[in-house]
Symmetry: C2
Subunit: 213 residues, 2 copies
């Protein structure tokens, strides 16, 4: 039994690596079996087709990102803490980036994932809203309800599409730098709502991104 | 000769409608020929495969969006004028939305389009930067250089991904309302940089979106 669980995990790990590297549409189950040096029949024993692999990978992704997004944020954290938190969310998305790189194609073939993706987007918005509420309670930012709602939606969209945006622009190939730039861009969205000396806040951010080389 | 040009245009129009409706990956050249009631051979005479159709559609898209994005903005316009301008950009993207719905798949099969897409992103950023510069010259907004650059990139990403974000969230099916919400979200990005009474500016925007039902 332990042996079977292990093969199943190896299939998922290999599929994830190949999907991320080559794009999900370019990778067949036969290729995955070939890389693992198992027979297609053995792979089929574990997964009845590529859709089943994609759905199992989504299960993993959903569980991990839900854990990160549901981490309770009860008080306004330091810039460093916020930076690290957003970095972790981006890292999680980056680990499963093949989903985001061909969302339309994947949702076409695995329609069950559509409502689950929609729920993840809502969870991202809720998390952003709760962070903003914490920052507001502590007086770090000040904004109206309309501004807070717009900002939460913008955050969720930013988390969802930043990596794809950078990939399209062809501007950066190192994933660590890409993520740090994405965190900086997220923090810059908050900057204008810092009351009083927002220039000082922006300078702090500039210093922080400079130190992340 | 005129007859041939006409068939070519009809193929492109039909392909665009089918790609947008069903997703590009789901539509074959045989299906396009079938809808047009022409033989696959006749279609092949005009386009040597689906990639050639996709590239011709991109030529059209590129020309149209370049015209919109290159429209010179020399002075800060009224909220209404800015609203309409951003609406037009979104409408153009919506007309060719199949590109954005499966970008990874399309760029995989038509790698020539990759640098052209990257150039369009840069053009969006430049256009956003020139609008922001105009607004600043007229004293409508005030921001630092770092803020302006972050805002321009955010605008470009917003224009690129907003329609896809709403589609994923499954929140809205009417394209006119979706676009108006996207324009509102874009204007809300500018709001915090309006000096003095930014609440009044947000109220203006709230009034404007309410009138766009």
């Amino acid at each position: 039994m332990a042996r079977k669980v292990k093969t199943r995990d190896r299939i998922l790990q290999t599929a994830l690596a190949l999907f991320n590297e080559e794009g999900e549409a370019e990778v067949s189950t036969v290729e995955i079996a070939g890389v693992l040096e198992i027979s297609p029949g053995n792979l089929y024993y574990h997964f009845k087709g590529k859709e089943a692999i994609i759905e199992a990978l989504f299960d993993d992704f959903e569980e991990e990102i839900r854990q990160v997004l549901s981490a309770p944020i009860k008080r306004a954290l330091s810039i460093e803490d916020n930076w690290i938190y957003i970095y972790i969310v981006f890292e999680e998305i980056n680990d499963f980036r093949f989903f985001y790189n061909n969302l339309a194609g994947i949702l076409e073939r695995c329609p069950d994932l559509r409502p689950r993706f929609a729920r993840l987007l809502r969870l991202k918005e809720e998390t952003a809203a709760s962070i903003l509420a914490a920052l507001e309670r502590e007086g770090v930012i000040a904004c109206s309800r309309a501004e807070r709602e717009a900002l939460a939606a913008r955050f969720a969209a930013h988390l969802t599409f930043w990596l794809q945006y950078v990939g399209l622009a062809g501007a950066e190939s190192d994933s660590r730098r890409t993520i740090n730039k994405g965190v900086y861009a997220a923090m810059m969205m908050i900057a204008p709502y810092v009351p009083g000396d927002r220039a000082a806040f922006t300078e702090l951010l500039d210093g922080y991104i400079a130190s992340q080389k």
